[in-house]
Amino acid sequence: MSSEWVFNLYVFVLATFVGYQVISRVPPLLHTPLMSGTNAISGISLVASLLAAGSHHFVSQILGFIAVSCATINVVGGFMITDRMLRMFKRKDPPPARAKLGEGKAS
């Protein structure tokens, strides 16, 4: 059992590292969508909320219900509003000065 938390610690450290690497490539232009997107992803606590709401324990069900509601607001709302924002980012009639935004061209 004690080895499980060491394993989880591995997962945590590696995920943090991957996250840091991936996110440092996000241009400042998209920092607000990044924040609202990661907010939607952190709505993954929905998974834990589902377990609480669907359990046999009554108080846990009530708390789980509130938690499911809150997490769903973040998941549904977070993805929706991030998409609404990203739809607005457009480039019109590419002028010559465009090369300046170099980091925006990573993928």
Binding site: P33, I41, I81, L101
Partner: protein, 465 residues
């Protein structure tokens, strides 16, 4: 492991990969929406996987929660104006914090007997961080929305109290690990989290909000991580770590853009809020002369310009002037003027705030430039239009070591031929720092509501043909 539980675990693995791809998509505006779709897919897979979990024995509360949450989530996202994005982000951090905190409480009440020492500690940390994020974000929301004073509330010994609360929570978690049956200790930890959230954000002023919001983002992620450790769920650890590192990275960027040390920020930017408030306006308010200009004067300057740079700030968001900015830029461009926008990392109330507003106003994103990319251009620029920005154009940050914002990277606005500042009044504004730029001979102050001034400038340009 039963076949069903294997499916559950594998669905989490797929979801984790999709989340990482989702964030990777955000590295360019072109791939961002496709990336976001992968994130949505990942979330769907994770939720469906969870519903197969053997521990879920009833679905009524789940369905009710999903219906309520979706309703509220859709309603908020569909109606909220882009100028209110910082408020929405703050609010959603509070929802996220509350969800993790309540999950922690539920888990503690449900099965604290069967947990390892490590899981108990994680549970305590999860509940503490969750409640801290919850009240901290509510406070941030209140300050942004204006129902809590945006000014920093400070008193003596504040830092000691906050650090004391933090230590108390850590000790409480230690006690809980020793004896998990002590319910009152568990709830005291929860209460400490609630209190510390309020206390930590209270001393922070409106202009520091980009840092606070990034930091709360990071806390929300760490709380989700702690949940993952408590439940032994890798998907929560991975997603929480992604969220946490994103918040951490943004906090680091913001602290760099404000020239604050990270240690300073990590403790909720406590001391920093004191500095601007305590600083006396060393340049002296009384009797300094500045060029108050009319819209006609400003129009005349613009007519004679070939290159114009806009510098938007929080004032643009307040007066909802982004569309007017775009319209003025468009009429300048029709006259053959080259127009650019200079975006400071801490302009506005959250990272990327100005970019989103200008994108909403249909400004092509290749005209938006970061500090480092545009700062050499000012010397070659005919006119700069400052729309509701203040500290980010203050030359004192470069020249005056006694200024509270000394060392903060700012735009070299004063190098351009003329500067037009749109400002509500000559008050030094929130931070209380006098801005030398406003008194320079080549600066024109056009006082009044930014949006109205911009619209007047547009018609002024039209008449000039």
């Amino acid at each position: 492991m039963t076949p069903t539980m294997l499916v559950v675990s594998l669905s989490y693995l797929v979801a984790a990969v999709l989340f990482i791809l989702c964030l990777r998509g955000l590295s360019s505006p072109e791939g961002a929406r496709r990336g976001l779709f992968l994130g949505e897919l990942g979330m769907l897979i994770a939720v469906i996987g969870t519903l197969l979990h053997k521990d879920i024995i009833r679905y009524d509360w789940i369905i009710a929660g999903v219906v309520v949450g979706s309703g509220i989530g859709v309603a908020i996202s569909a109606t909220i104006p882009m100028t209110k994005m910082p408020e929405r982000i703050a609010l959603s951090h509070s929802f996220g914090g509350l969800a993790t905190a309540l999950v922690g409480v539920a888990e503690y009440l449900r099965e604290s007997d069967g947990l390892t020492y490590f899981q108990i500690a994680a549970l305590g940390l999860e509940t503490f961080l969750g409640f801290l994020t919850f009240t901290g974000s509510i406070m941030a929301f209140g300050k942004l929305q204006g129902f809590i004073s945006g000014a920093p509330v400070t008193w003596k010994g504040q830092n000691f109290l906050n650090i004391g609360l933090f230590i108390a929570a850590v000790l409480g978690i230690g006690v809980l690990v020793y004896d998990r049956e002590l319910h009152q200790v568990f709830f005291a930890i929860a209460g400490t989290g609630l209190a510390l959230g309020v206390m930590a954000v209270l001393p922070i002023g409106g202009a520091d909000m980009p840092v606070v919001i990034s930091l709360l983002n990071s806390y929300a992620g760490l709380a989700a991580c702690a949940t993952g450790f408590a439940l032994g769920s890798q998907i929560l650890i991975i997603s929480g770590a992604l969220d946490g590192s994103s918040g951490l990275l943004l906090s680091l960027l913001m602290s760099k853009a404000m020239n604050r040390s990270f240690a300073n920020i990590l403790f909720g930017a406590f001391g920093t809020a004191l500095a601007p408030g305590a600083a006396s306006p060393q340049l002296g308010k009384g009797g300094r002369s500045y060029n108050e200009a009319t819209v006609e004067d400003a129009g005349a300057v613009l007519k004679a310009s070939q290159t114009v740079i806009f510098i938007p700030g929080y004032g643009m968001a307040v007066s909802q002037a982004q569309h007017a900015v775009r319209d003025l830029a468009a009429s300048l461009e029709r006259r053959g003027v080259e127009v650019k926008y200079a975006i400071h990392p801490v302009a506005g109330r959250m990272p990327g705030h100005m970019n989103v507003l200008l994108a909403e106003a249909n400004v092509s994103y290749d005209k938006l430039f970061d500090l480092d990319d545009i700062n050499d251009d000012f010397a070659r620029t005919d006119a700069v239009i400052v729309v509701g920005a203040n500290d980010v154009v203050n030359p004192a940050a470069k020249k005056d070591p006694s200024s509270p914002i000394y060392g903060m990277p700012v735009f070299n606005v004063e190098q351009s031929r003329s500067v037009i500042v749109l400002k509500r009044s000559m008050n030094p504004g929130f931070s209380g720092v006098e801005n030398e730029l406003f008194f320079q001979p080549n600066t024109m102050m056009v006082l009044g509501d930014a949006k109205k001034t911009l619209l007047a400038m547009i018609s002024e340009l039209k008449e000039g043909h």
